[in-house]
């Protein structure tokens, strides 16, 4: 019975391999390639023999279908209605929309370009330039801060520092500057998003085999020549992938343009206005589709590039050691620029911190705790508790889903494996705002089939649990992809023979997963959990439409306070939010342990 499911953990790569183990055929007759529903049927029947496997698969598939695809299809359906066609005509014809689309593109390109540049600069200084270790550490840590803060926190601090009455622009230089609009947005969004570029590029730079540099040097190339002809070309796919990812993030962002956009309207803000200001779901859907299609295409393009980048750079064991750049003419400008960026980040977050403890930063600088009183004890306490609670529920769900889907994707032998992978990745590839609209469209009424309620009303007034369920679902779909990728990467490094060894010693698949696989991918699981919590706590765009009077979300409160000009409260919220995220990360690492001590060894096993 079990046997046919057993080869599921066999070595090999294609789903079709597994199938051939099931059909007794004589070899004298060449096998017809059995593609088609018969094969699919056999694969799934084989899966059904291991109930745990089947449960995992069904749960994963339901998750993708109900929480991700269904809302997207609802949005597409709404956009495709006759009313939607009229709006689309408008969008295509009216110059005001052309302007909006152009704005979105320009902003996306600028942020992507500058963000990739900044990320690369910091990564290069980190990996290839000689600088004091403490300075590198400082730059590294500051570069990570934006990950644990809500994306538009930077925007708020920037207004205080560089706005019309900015502490620096007006206070120091006496200039009335207008940072609302494209320039301000570019700076702020770059700072909010460059971290992914920094992390992925420094990973790639580390993976480059120094022997290649040595070979170039050996052939007579100067450092600069070698950088241009060896390092840079090798990193091109990685740079391209960072660029695209930042582009997608930038055009999807709602928080920053809302706070700092001014008259500079982009698709995301127009969309927000359509829903919140005009209650026009149809226009919202049409604009969503306009935003959705390029975003998703570019996202998957960058994914392919990123895969290629790591294939190019990580080839076997790196040999030799990197020769750090020590030439002063290169070191001083590079390290200087990186330090300046790090200091700027410190300035921004320092402003947030100080601003949280004074009456009104720049206007009335007396020390006060009333902002925190508001957040911790007053009106904001509820938002804080709700948000933390919902994130705490979403975190383990996303973490476990990520690992289970990773296992199915890497070790599974069934048709639809890549569909499962892609479907899950849509959760992050699609701009958050679109999920907001999709959830409104899909779940504002109970979903029924033949009179039976499959999914109750999840959004709007009188929703189940005050709309909390929908928000948790959104948290989960936004955070699962990161865990999935970490899990896939970890699983691919585990020799399947290790799992087979466990089976041959008498453990079944479930036990093998628990006792062997899971401990080995624990670091990936852990980073998936951290990401899920940080992501949930800081999510803005996806949940703005989903909050109800009963469920308040911190990021939304921050936005409200900012728009009302009560920066002190906004700052206090941000500080509390970052503190919660950091404390939870600390708790998680105590609970789970940052490493098992085995993960590096797992890679080394021949």
């Amino acid at each position: 019975m079990y046997l046919r499911a057993a080869p599921l953990i066999q070595r090999g790569c294609a789903p079709s391999l597994y199938l051939s183990t099931l059909s007794p055929m004589r070899l004298s007759r060449p096998l017809a390639p059995t593609i088609g529903w018969r094969r699919v049927w056999r694969e799934y029947r084989a899966l059904a023999r291991d109930p745990l496997y089947l449960i995992a698969l069904v749960a994963a598939a339901l998750f993708v279908l109900a929480a991700i695809l269904y809302p997207l299809i609802a949005t597409l359906g709404q956009a495709a209605s006759s009313e939607g066609a009229r709006v689309l005509g408008d969008v295509l014809r009216r110059p005001v929309y052309h302007r909006i689309i152009l704005n979105t593109l320009v902003m996306g390109l600028l942020v992507a370009g500058v963000g990739t540049g900044v990320g690369f600069l910091l990564a290069f200084v980190q990996v290839r330039v000689a600088a004091p270790a403490w300075l590198k550490r400082f730059i590294h840590l500051t570069a990570l801060v934006p990950v644990v803060s809500p994306p538009f926190a930077v925007a708020v601090a920037t207004i205080v520092l560089f706005g019309r009455s900015g502490l620096i622009t007006y206070g120091v230089f006496g200039a009335r500057t207008d940072i609302y609009g494209l320039p301000g947005l570019t700076i702020v969004m770059t700072l909010s998003f460059f971290t992914v570029a920094y992390l992925s590029l420094s990973g790639l730079l580390r993976g480059l085999d120094p022997a290649m540099d040595e070979a170039a040097t050996n052939l007579g190339a100067s450092r600069w020549h070698q950088f241009r002809t060896v390092t840079l070309p090798m990193l091109l796919p990685g740079l391209g992938s960072s660029f695209l990812l930042l582009f997608v993030e930038a055009v999807a962002d709602l928080g920053n343009p809302l706070v700092l956009g001014g008259n500079f309207t982009v698709l995301a803000t127009r969309l927000y206005l359509a829903i919140v200001g005009e209650y026009d779901l149809t226009s919202g859907s049409v604009l969503s589709v306009v935003l959705l299609i390029p975003s998703v295409l570019l996202y998957f393009l960058q994914w392919r590039l990123a895969t290629r980048a790591s294939v190019v750079t990580i080839t076997g064991k790196p040999t030799g050691r990197v020769l750090l750049i020590t030439d002063k003419r290169a070191v001083i400008p590079l390290v200087g620029a990186a330090t300046a960026i790090a200091l700027f980040i410190v300035l921004i977050y320092g402003t947030l911190l100080v601003g949280a403890f004074v009456m009104s930063l720049g206007v009335n600088n007396t020390f006060t705790l009333k902002n925190f009183e508001f957040v911790l004890l007053g009106y904001g306490a509820e938002a804080m508790i709700d948000t933390s609670f919902m994130s705490a529920i979403a975190t383990p769900l996303a973490g476990v889903l990520g690992m289970v889907i990773a296992f199915l994707v890497v070790r599974g032998r069934f048709l639809g494996r890549s569909a499962l992978d892609l479907g899950t990745m849509l959760g992050i590839a699609v701009p958050g705002t679109i999920f907001g609209i999709g959830y409104l469209l899909a779940f504002n009424n109970p979903t029924t089939l033949g009179g039976v309620t499959l999914i109750p009303k999840l959004t709007g007034g009188a929703a189940v649990l005050g709309g909390a369920l929908a928000i948790v679902m959104v948290y989960v779909i936004r955070s699962t992809p990161a865990g999935l990728r970490a899990g896939v990467a970890a699983l691919q490094q585990i020799d399947p023979a290790i799992e087979e060894a466990s089976v041959s010693l008498g453990a079944d698949q479930a036990l093998t997963f628990r006792k062997v696989t899971l401990p080995l991918i624990r670091p990936a699981f852990f980073s998936g959990l951290i990401y899920a919590f940080a992501r949930s706590m800081t999510t803005v765009s996806a949940i703005l439409f989903l909050t109800t009077p009963e469920t308040r979300i911190m990021t939304q409160q921050i936005l409200n306070e900012t728009e009302a000009g009560r920066f002190g409260n906004a700052f206090a919220y941000v500080v509390v939010l970052i503190a919660i995220v950091l404390v939870v990360i600390g708790l998680l690492s105590l609970l789970i342990g940052l490493s098992t001590g085995a993960e590096r060894e797992a890679v080394q096993t021949p």
Binding site: Q10, L22, D495, S504
Partner: protein, 366 residues
């Protein structure tokens, strides 16, 4: 000593489908009987289906057709975790997050043993493979040889019905390989566990096994004791794969009872012959150490030739001699102490008719 088990493969075939939709026949009608306590080796070149065969026995692959019997019972419906077959993997496949002790205890704990029993058996097994003292190490902190011992101990600890080895020594250096292989052999004899061992190293196969199974292209070419396979290979492929051999084209007459009169380059000799040999064209296998250069003039049979190269190895002198357009390899013992021939010398060479073997010429395609 535990009670030993027998393993039978009946016409086992495995057809893989490649991702491109082509099919690969990795195992092609393999039949094999392994007696209780026997040590059998699957030997063959890379890609001949050894690993596939082993994995079908372990239950990680399902045969496309054919049956596998353990103690006479078909195990097709026994999942791999219930087969009680200890497997030693080429990559060791140790659990990197567990200590040596925990690795070896892994299978025991699954058998709901008391903690005291687990400790006792692990200790015994570790002593058996000379690992005592390393209990608390992690696999990454062990040398390759030690890792392989842990892998062996882990498989042994569960007292498997059959031990399966997949090229367990191929990641080790030559010296360690030789040392470990005799240890494996001694252990297996002491414990009497039925064992199937996969390798592509013929010296390993010969020195370890009761019987060797020579495989080629998914098929079994020959099964036999090491000496039998070496002395009486069933095909040219086997003769070539196990040791070195020269093949002289001959014509066989008077084939009977394992003997044949063959005419070899105008000279007629009576030699041992393969049972399937018929009158007509045949091949005469002459191993280099069974041929020698004539020091006297009157030997029979004898063939003329010219020395192409001469290498003084020590225990022998290795000559290549061009004789009737064919290059003959000869490992000559006499020359070590007597006359050394030089390149270009015209020589006469001969072989001992009792130590050659006549094969069907058809087996040349093997």
């Amino acid at each position: 000593m535990t009670e030993a088990h027998s393993l039978i493969l009946q016409d086992v075939t495995k057809v893989f489908q490649t991702p491109e939709g082509r099919t690969v026949t990795a195992a092609d009608g393999i039949s094999l009987q392994i007696a209780q306590g026997e040590f059998v080796t699957l030997l063959g070149p890379s890609g001949c289906g050894k690993t596939t065969t082993l994995r079908m026995i372990a239950g990680f692959e399902f045969p496309t057709s054919g049956r596998i019997l353990l103690d006479g019972k078909d195990i097709a419906n026994t999942p791999p975790n219930k087969r009680e077959m200890g497997m030693v993997f080429q990559s060791y496949a140790l659990f990197p997050h567990l200590t040596v002790f925990e690795n070896i205890a892994y299978g025991l704990r699954l058998r709901r043993m008391s903690a005291a029993d687990v400790t006792r058996i692990v200790d015994e097994t570790m002593a058996l493979v000379n690992l005592s003292g390393l209990e608390q190490r992690r696999p990454a902190a062990l040398s390759g040889g030690q890792q392989q011992r842990v892998a062996l101990a882990r498989a042994l600890a569960i007292r498997p019905k059959v031990l399966l080895f997949d090229e367990p020594l191929s990641n080790l250096d030559a010296k360690l390989r030789v040392a470990l292989r005799s240890e494996i052999r001694q252990l297996q004899q002491r414990l009497g566990i039925t064992s199937l061992y996969v390798t592509h190293d013929q010296a390993e196969a010969m020195s370890l096994s009761d019987r060797v199974v020579v495989m080629n292209g998914g098929r079994v070419e020959q099964v036999g004791a090491p000496a039998e396979v070496y002395r009486r290979p069933a095909s040219r492929f086997v003769a070539d794969f196990i040791g070195q051999a020269n093949f002289l084209p001959v014509t066989a007459t008077h084939v009977a009872e394992g003997q044949a009169r063959v005419v070899c380059w105008d000279q007629s000799v009576v030699v041992p012959a393969h049972p399937a040999l018929r009158d007509g064209p045949a091949l005469l296998m002459v191993r280099p150490e069974c041929a020698r250069l004539c020091q006297a003039e009157d030997e029979q049979p004898a063939f003329v030739g010219v020395v192409q190269s001469a290498t003084y190895v020590g225990s022998t002198v290795e000559y290549t001699v061009l004789s009737r357009d064919q290059t003959i390899n000869i490992a000559d013992h006499d020359s070590v102490w007597t006359r050394l021939f030089q390149v270009g010398d015209s020589v006469r060479w001969t072989f001992d008719p009792r130590r050659v073997y006549a094969l069907s010429a058809l087996s040349a395609e093997g």
